[in-house]
C-alpha cells in the first residue's frame, strides 16, 4: 500500500480533508453536518495519512499526543456551556454575536460548543486508532 503515489496523494489529501472537515463543522447549523461528523472526517484524514506514511510520521505532524485534544475540546465545550452562568443565565443558554459572519452565519456559543465536540472527536478517534496500531 505504501506506494509513492499514495504517500504523495495522502500528504496533499490531509490538508484538503482537514479543510473539508472544518467546512462540515461550520455549516452544521444549517445543513447536515456538525462537529461530530466533522471531527470524524478530520480523524479519518489523519488515519489515511498514517496508513500511507506510518504512524511515526503522522505523530510528527501533530507534534503532541492526540489525547490532549480531548481535555482541550472538553474545556472549550464546558466554557461554552457554562458561560451564561456568569451572567446569571441557565446552562447552555445561547449567547450570540450581534452580526452574522460571512460563510458561517450567526456566531454564538453553540458554535464554540460544536468546535469543542469536533476537537474531542478527533482526539478520541486518533487516540483509539493510534493506540491499537501501536500495540498490534
Amino acid at each position: 500500500m505504501k506506494t509513492i503515489i499514495f504517500k504523495t496523494a495522502s500528504s496533499y489529501l490531509l490538508p484538503l480533508l482537514l479543510l473539508f472537515a472544518i467546512f462540515i463543522l461550520l455549516r452544521g447549523h444549517y445543513l447536515p453536518g456538525g462537529g461530530f461528523v466533522g471531527g470524524l472526517i478530520a480523524a479519518i484524514a489523519f488515519v489515511i495519512h498514517s496508513f500511507a506514511n506510518g504512524i511515526e510520521k503522522t505523530r510528527g505532524i501533530i507534534k503532541f499526543h492526540p489525547g490532549f485534544l480531548m481535555p482541550i475540546g472538553l474545556a472549550l465545550a464546558l466554557i461554552a456551556a457554562i458561560a451564561p452562568l456568569f451572567t446569571g443565565g441557565a446552562l447552555m443558554t445561547g449567547l450570540w454575536f450581534e452580526n452574522p459572519v460571512p460563510v458561517i452565519g450567526m456566531v454564538g456559543s453553540a458554535l464554540f460548543f460544536d468546535i469543542g465536540v469536533f476537537l474531542v472527536v478527533v482526539g478520541v478517534t486518533l487516540t483509539i486508532i493510534f493506540t491499537i496500531s501501536e500495540t498490534i
Binding site: G67, M70, P71, L74, A75, L78, I82, P84, L85, G88, G89, A90, L91, M92, T93, G94
Partner: protein, 508 residues
C-alpha cells in the same frame, strides 16, 4: 424556583476531571487536585441541600428553553440528598485513593475517570429528563468499565466482562423503554411524562413499558434475578474502586427506580406484587450468598444485593412510611457500604489477603483500628441504635399496616442473616489467632507505608464512621429529612409544578 447554579455539582466534577487530564503525568498534583476539588464539591452539595430544604425545589432549564422543550435539571430534596451523599463518599474515597491506589493506575487516568464517574452520578441525580438520564447512566457505565478494568488483571478482566455485558444489556433495555415511551407520548421530560402517562388510555402498554424500565433499572440496582454481575465483579478491582462502586453504583439504580416508579409509573397492584416478590427474593439471595463466602469483599458484595432488596421492599410496600424507610436506608447504606469496602482495603493492606480463612488477629495487633472498623461493621447489621436499625422500624410497621407479612418476614430474616454473617466475619477476621496463618510475600504492608499514606487510608474510614454514628444516634435529623423526601415521593405535585409551572386543575 429557578436557579441556574444547581448544576454546579456536575460542573465542578467535570471541571476537576478536565483539569486532571491536563496534569496527566503529574501524579502528586493529581492527588492534591482530587482531594481539594472533592472538598469544594462537598461544600457545593451542602449548599445545594440547604437551599433546597429552605426554599423548596429548584429548577434550571438548560439553554433557557422552557420545559418540556429543553432539558430540565431539578434539585428536589431527594436528588440534592443523593448529590450530597455522592460528594461525601467521593471525598472519602478520593482521600482513600491517595493512600491506596498504585501509582501505575494513577498514571493511566485513575483520578480523571473517578471524577467523571462522580460527575455522572450527580448528573443522573439532578436531571429531570428521561433521555438525559440515559446519557448520564452511560457516563456512569463507561467510567465504571474503565475503572473496573484499570490494571487489566485476569480477575479484573473476567469480572468486568460480566459487568460490561449486563450493563450494556441494561442500557439496551432502558433505551428500548425510552423508545416506546417516546412512541407513546412524544415527550421526554419526566414531569411532563408524569402527566401524559397518567392520561394514557392504553394501560397495558403503560404496564409493559413499566416492566421494561423495571428490568433495565433492576439490572443496574442488582435485584434478583438480575443481580448476577455484581457478585462476579465487585471484588475484583482495587479496594478504592470497589468502595465507590459498592457505595454508589447500585444506588443509582435504586434512585432511578424510586424516581420513575413514583413519578411516571405509579405502581398498580401487579407492579406492587412484582416488586414485593423481587425484593423479598433479593434479600434472601443476597444474604444467603453472603453467608457462605470466604472472601470478605464477596461477603460485602452479596450483602449489597441483600440490602438493595430492603430498599426495593420499601418501594414495593408503597406507603409513605415505607418510602421514608427506604430513603433513610439509602443514606445509611451509601455511607456504610463505601466505608466497608475501604475497611476491606485496609484489612488487605495490613494482612495481604481478603480471604477470611487466612485472616486473623487484627484485634490483637491493631486494637484501635479494629474498634474503628467495628463501627461500620455493626452499623451495617443495624445493631440499634446504629444507623442500619432505624429504617427497619418504618418497613416493619408499614408491612404490618398493609398486611404484607411476607416482606416483614423477609426483612427480619435478612437482618438476622446479616447479623450472623457480620458476627462471623468479626470472629474470623478480628478475633481468630493470627500467628499461624500463612504470610503473603511481595506485598507492601500497611506498616511499611509512609505515615501520610497510612493517614490517607485511615482518615476516610474515621470520617465515614463518624457520619454513620451521627445517622444512628442523631436519627431524628435524618428522619426529618427522610420524611420530607418520603412525602414528596408520594405526592409528586410539587415536583411537577416546579418544572412545568402551576397545573391547571380543570385538566384531567
Amino acid at each position: 424556583m429557578s436557579n441556574p447554579y444547581i448544576i454546579l455539582p456536575i460542573i465542578s466534577q467535570l471541571f476537576t476531571a478536565i483539569l486532571l487530564m491536563f496534569f496527566w503525568t503529574q501524579k502528586n498534583t493529581q492527588k492534591a487536585i482530587s482531594v481539594i476539588m472533592s472538598l469544594v464539591t462537598l461544600g457545593i452539595s451542602v449548599w445545594l441541600l440547604t437551599i433546597v430544604l429552605k426554599n423548596g425545589i429548584h429548577v434550571t432549564q438548560a439553554g433557557s428553553w422552557e420545559a418540556p422543550f429543553g432539558i430540565t435539571f431539578i434539585a428536589d430534596p431527594l436528588s440534592s440528598l443523593m448529590v450530597l451523599l455522592t460528594s461525601l463518599a467521593g471525598l472519602a474515597v478520593s482521600i482513600f485513593s491517595v493512600g491506596s491506589v498504585r501509582n501505575a493506575r494513577v498514571r493511566f487516568g485513575y483520578f480523571p475517570i473517578f471524577h467523571f464517574l462522580l460527575m455522572g452520578l450527580n448528573g443522573a441525580f439532578l436531571t429531570g429528563d428521561i433521555f438525559n438520564l440515559y446519557v448520564w447512566f452511560e457516563i456512569i457505565i463507561i467510567s465504571s468499565f474503565v475503572l473496573i478494568t484499570l490494571g487489566g488483571e485476569k480477575a479484573q478482566i473476567e469480572g468486568s466482562i460480566k459487568y460490561v455485558t449486563m450493563n450494556l444489556l441494561a442500557s439496551a433495555i432502558f433505551l428500548t423503554a425510552i423508545a416506546i415511551l417516546y412512541g407513546l407520548v412524544g415527550s421526554l421530560n419526566m414531569a411532563d411524562l408524569s402527566i401524559k402517562v397518567a392520561n394514557l388510555e392504553n394501560r397495558r402498554l403503560v404496564n409493559v413499558t413499566a416492566i421494561l424500565f423495571f428490568v433495565g433499572f433492576g439490572i443496574k440496582s442488582a435485584v434478583f434475578p438480575l443481580h448476577f454481575w455484581l457478585p462476579a465483579s465487585y471484588h475484583t478491582p482495587p479496594p478504592a474502586i470497589s468502595a465507590i462502586f459498592g457505595g454508589l453504583l447500585t444506588k443509582v439504580g435504586v434512585y432511578a427506580l424510586l424516581r420513575v416508579f413514583t413519578l411516571i409509573f405509579v405502581p398498580d397492584e401487579f407492579m406492587i406484587n412484582l416488586i414485593s416478590w423481587v425484593a423479598g427474593l433479593t434479600i434472601l439471595t443476597g444474604c444467603i450468598g453472603a453467608l457462605i463466602q470466604n472472601n470478605i469483599r464477596k461477603v460485602f458484595s452479596y450483602l449489597i444485593v441483600g440490602h438493595i432488596g430492603y430498599m426495593i421492599a420499601g418501594l414495593g410496600m408503597f406507603t409513605e412510611a415505607a418510602l421514608i424507610g427506604t430513603v433513610f436506608y439509602l443514606i445509611h447504606d451509601i455511607i456504610v457500604k463505601t466505608n466497608l469496602f475501604m475497611v476491606s482495603g485496609l484489612i488487605f493492606k495490613i494482612k495481604g489477603t481478603f480471604s477470611m480463612r487466612n485472616l486473623g488477629g487484627l484485634y490483637k495487633e491493631y486494637p484501635k483500628l479494629s474498634l474503628l472498623m467495628a463501627i461500620p461493621i455493626f452499623s451495617l447489621v443495624g445493631i440499634p441504635p446504629l444507623s442500619g436499625f432505624w429504617a427497619k422500624l418504618f418497613w416493619v410497621e408499614s408491612g404490618f399496616a398493609i398486611e404484607n407479612f411476607m416482606l416483614v418476614a423477609f426483612i427480619i430474616a435478612g437482618s438476622f442473616l446479616t447479623l450472623f454473617v457480620m458476627a462471623k466475619l468479626w470472629a474470623e477476621v478480628f478475633w481468630k489467632d493470627g500467628d499461624k496463618l500463612p504470610k503473603k510475600i511481595n506485598v507492601k504492608y500497611f506498616w511499611e507505608l509512609k505515615p501520610l499514606k497510612r493517614t490517607a487510608m485511615v482518615f476516610p474510614i474515621v470520617f465515614l464512621s463518624l457520619i454513620s454514628l451521627y445517622i444512628g444516634l442523631g436519627a431524628d435529623h435524618v428522619i426529618q429529612l427522610s420524611t420530607i423526601i418520603g412525602k414528596q415521593l408520594m405526592d409528586t405535585t410539587p415536583y411537577i409544578e416546579a418544572v412545568l409551572g402551576p397545573i391547571n386543575e380543570s385538566q384531567p
